[in-house]
């Protein structure tokens, strides 16, 4: 439980920074200066002080559902194991995926309430992509549970920590590669979606937010950052279950893992273009298939 609280606070505080870090690294690769590292905090601060415009045909759901989205994202974040300090909570993998689904449901319905063709387009795309992300995410987490033992996120991380070098068998590695792809898709990064664009042909997540403004938009944007941070932390923890147990080495390992994965995301984004929307499910199905191959390898060879 201590693990959960510390991990939650870390993610809540660091979430905008992680987004800033990825932006900065991308700018570096593109030979630009890019926005300052702390720009996302300033953006949230600005949004909170702005007035809010609600579309004329909207209902009260338009401002209520951003809270549901935010709360569900935070609830999912409470399940992410990070440090291995104190007792590792149950952190159920399916509840984690279901809470992210609840956040997505709230966002899609709020987008339908936006009553514009852009928000509806975002909703239509998010529905379809989300339907393919969910099996990929659960497939990766369940695959790790089947191959490595433990059913909760904390238990999976702990058993990988205890396994030592055996945690990097071919089966687990295949599933983890798939998990990195899924984490990118779920947090709306290139090649699945581009968080830095408002071009209507390509946007998914930003399209849904187009009618929201002021504090509602601040909540939704912050929730998206938290979700990305939680997925990066989760992927990192499962990928390198080291520095487990004491607070200081654990916190150090946490920072190294988060920075490493953020830089990895920035590299992938720099080297790849965003996929055509109809190619998105193919990549996700490929990720699921890699995870499935990992499960088959793990079941037949063990490990």
């Amino acid at each position: 439980m201590t693990d959960g609280i510390v991990s939650l606070l870390l993610i809540l505080v660091a979430a905008p920074f992680i987004r800033g870090l990825i932006q900065k690294a991308k700018a570096f690769f593109q030979m630009r200066n890019g926005p300052p590292l702390l720009q996302p905090y300033a953006d949230l601060w600005k949004l909170v002080h702005k007035g809010e415009v609600i579309p004329e045909p909207s209902t009260f759901l338009f401002t209520a559902l951003p809270w549901v989205n935010f709360a569900a994202t935070v609830a999912a974040t409470t399940l992410v194991p990070a440090l291995g300090v104190g007792q590792v909570g149950p952190g159920d993998a399916i509840v984690f995926a279901a809470l992210l689904a609840l956040a997505r449901f709230a966002l899609i319905v709020a987008a339908f309430d936006g009553t514009s063709n852009f928000t509806h387009m975002g909703a239509s795309r998010e529905m379809a992509i989300g339907a393919v992300i969910e099996p990929a995410l659960i497939g990766c987490l369940a695959g790790l549970a089947i191959v490595g033992g433990g059913s909760g996120l904390g238990a999976i991380a702990e058993s990988r920590h205890l396994a030592g070098p055996a945690a990097f068998g071919p089966a687990a590695l295949m599933i983890l590669v798939a998990l990195i792809l899924v984490a990118q898709a779920e947090s709306g990064r290139v090649p699945f979606d581009n968080p830095d664009t408002h071009l209507e042909l390509t946007m998914v997540h930003e399209g849904m937010l187009l009618e929201h403004s002021g504090r509602s938009l601040a909540l939704l944007a912050y929730a998206a950052q938290i979700k990305q941070a939680a997925l990066i932390v989760l992927t990192g923890t499962l990928l390198f279950p080291v520095g487990w147990g004491e607070l200081l080495p654990a916190a150090l390992a946490w920072i190294v893992r988060v920075v490493a994965i953020a830089l990895l995301f920035a590299c992938i984004e720099t080297a790849n273009a965003k996929l055509r929307i109809l190619r998105v499910p193919q990549l996700l199905v490929t990720a699921t298939a890699i995870a499935g191959a990992g499960v088959v390898v793990g079941v037949t060879l063990g490990g």
Binding site: M1, V53, I54, A71, L99, L102, T115, A131, I133, I138
Partner: protein
């Protein structure tokens, strides 16, 4: 008058049945009785054990809620066969009771067949419409196929039994030839799939449910298709102790139903048909749970109990929520006169109660936490994970099933977000659409009660598990233990259970307080941004376009055909009118049903050759039959 008496009576009796079955369930009782049947040789054995009591509890609770709603909803039928509708509704409830209470093959068949036939008359209530008659005919054909198959499944073992009682059949299963037993099980599989709307025998469901009056479709979806689930558990597990291959076959059918149902629900444009497809999906999930129990019945000690708990919990909770959704859809249909998602829109303003409760039901049916279907789906996935932790090739099968069920969950979310968003939000897609009025008070009360139960059973999933536990135990497996009613999913201790909610609430409180400290900001209403133009309702996505991305993703399964017609004036350069029409043939029907139907028709026309209308030839047939019979019986 007929409406008040009929539905009021149904509501009271339903409440009494629900109370009585809860008493049986919690007391873990088994009561039985024998009545003289219509034929002296066939006495009617009735028996209620916790398993039957659980289904009667579902029937009682749901029929009470539906009957209360029908007090207001069925007003429109007052001068349109309302008395007949109310009487058939009551008769249908009676038939369902008979089927759940039956303790011998004859009574069970009687109940099963009565449900099918009375159901037919309920479905075709608005028989002036030829589309309704066609849907009803398909329903009747499939129901009769199911009834024939269940007769085979029951009467085949009866050949080795002393009489028709279930206890006698149970003994007969032990010493009948394996081939005969397997034949009976195959027939049973077909029968329950046809009754419950499981793939590939589900074609009737998305046609029959939308055309029936809403309170009838609610009852069909919430309870009648569960008779197929009850039949599987009673006949395959309780009586036949079915072998693992039956479980694997059922698992494949269950997962296929779940996927197909969820996929079709995401793209269909009729609000009630979306709900019907969602029923196919949920029945598929229930069958997956039952199948998992059968697969692991003879190998692992705890898994069958877990899987059966998941299936029965799903059955109960799906019934409650689906009744809510169908009554909500009925209220929409009544208010504006259409269920077409390409015409609806913006009804949340004129029907706020219906909208709010429909949203809650939609979130519940998409198995989102903290609502009541999530614990059931969670248990099913946990059972599959436990199978994945066993040994052997089952582990891969478990992983595949987990992924398929997760895909189903994602699609169900899409289907429900789309159905709600299109129906209740935005502007009406058709400008001439009536603005609609809120549903009658009786409907609102009923929906509110169902939604209350859905939230309650979602927040306290342990309560549901405790209701279901005796029904699992009576089958001879270990039910799931829950130390605390609210601590099923989040952990075993109060601290574990409270940590998550408290953490989330405190984070939200902190953000809210921050907003307060920073002072109020101006909030105003403004026009929607549509690139500087004025907003028109046609600018929004319609039901079809909202599901278009998903349809394109799955275009290898949903093979939509577009037909464009051009009507020419004189020259071939200026078409006078263009019309385009798209239809998605049902994925299974085209490949599986069409050959069967054409074979039957060809056989029928071949058989017509002996009917040449000549009376002398007919006399010859009679004579030949007589001779054959005399020779045969000698």
């Amino acid at each position: 008058m007929a409406r008040a008496v009929g539905y009021g009576g149904c509501a009271l009796i339903g409440g009494a049945i629900a109370g009585g079955s809860t008493w049986v369930l919690l007391g873990d009782l088994t009561l039985q009785t024998v009545r003289r049947g219509p034929v002296d040789l066939l006495p009617i054995h009735l028996r209620i054990d916790p398993l039957a009591a659980l289904f009667l509890l579902l029937l009682g609770a749901v029929s009470t809620a539906i009957a209360v709603a029908a007090l207001g909803y069925a007003r429109a039928y007052d001068h349109h066969g309302g008395t007949r509708l109310a009487a058939l509704f009551a008769l249908f409830l009676g038939a369902l009771h008979l089927a759940f209470l039956a303790a011998d093959a004859f009574t069970f068949l009687l109940g099963w067949e009565l449900v099918a036939v009375v159901g037919y008359f309920l479905v075709v209530h608005e028989h002036e419409d030829p589309a309704v008659r066609r849907a009803g005919f398909l329903y009747l054909a499939m129901a009769q196929l199911g009834a024939a198959l269940v007769a085979v499944a029951l009467l085949l073992p009866a050949a080795w039994a002393a009489d028709l009682r279930f206890s006698a059949l149970r003994e007969a299963i032990g010493h009948m030839p394996l081939l005969a037993r397997d034949l009976a099980l195959i027939a049973l599989l077909g029968a329950v799939l046809a009754k419950a709307g499981g793939a590939p025998l589900h074609a009737w469901l998305p046609r029959a449910h939308p055309v029936a009056p809403a309170h009838v479709s609610a009852l069909l979806s919430a309870v009648m298709i569960k008779l197929g689930v009850y039949g599987t558990i009673r006949l395959a597990i309780d009586i036949a102790a079915a072998p693992a291959w039956f479980g694997w076959a059922l698992l494949v059918c269950g997962v296929a139903s779940a996927l197909l149902g969820a996929l079709q629900a995401t793209v269909d444009r009729d609000l009630k048909r979306v709900l019907a497809y969602s029923s196919i999906e949920n029945v598929g999930l229930i069958f997956s749970g039952v199948a998992l129990a059968i697969v692991t019945w003879h190998t692992t000690p705890l898994l069958p109990g877990l899987a059966l708990t998941a299936a029965l919990l799903h059955t109960l909770n799906h019934g409650l929520v689906k009744a809510l959704l169908f009554m909500g859809a009925g209220a929409v249909d009544r208010a504006v006169g259409t269920r077409d998602l390409n015409r609806l829109g913006g009804l949340a303003r004129s029907m706020p109660w219906t909208a709010g409760l429909f949203l809650l039901g939609g979130a519940a049916i998409a198995a989102l936490p903290p609502l009541n279907l999530f614990p059931a789906e969670w248990l099913l996935l946990q059972a599959l994970l436990a199978l994945g932790a066993s040994s052997g090739a089952e582990r891969v099968a478990a992983w595949v099933a987990i992924v398929a069920i997760a895909l189903t969950g994602g699609l169900a979310l899409a289907a429900m977000a789309r159905a709600f968003g299109i129906t209740f939000l935005g502007l009406p897609r058709e400008r001439t659409l009536a603005s609609g009025t809120e549903a009658p008070a009786a409907v609102r009360i009923s929906l509110l009660a169902l939604a209350g139960v859905a939230v309650g059973l979602g927040l306290f999933p342990g309560l549901g598990v405790r209701i279901v536990a005796p029904a699992v135990e009576v089958l001879g497996v270990v039910p799931l233990e829950t130390p605390l009613p609210y601590a099923l999913i989040v952990g075993d201790t109060v601290l574990d259970a409270l940590y998550g909610p408290v953490a989330v609430l405190s984070v939200c409180m902190v953000v809210w307080l921050l907003f307060r400290v920073m002072g109020r900001v101006p909030v105003r209403r403004g026009p929607v941004w549509v690139c500087g133009f004025a907003l028109q309702s046609r600018m929004q996505y319609s039901g079809t376009s909202a599901g278009e991305t998903a349809r394109l993703f799955f275009r290898s399964i949903l093979r939509t055909r577009r037909v464009a017609r051009e009507i020419w004036a004189q020259a071939p350069y200026f078409p006078q009118r263009l019309s385009t029409h798209a239809e998605t043939p049902h994925p299974v029907e085209a490949t599986l049903y069409a050959p069967v139907v054409s074979t039957v028709l060809r056989a029928a026309s071949a058989a017509r050759a002996i009917q040449n209308g000549n009376i002398r030839v007919y006399l010859l047939y009679v004579f030949a039959t007589l001779v054959l019979l005399l020779v045969g019986t000698r």
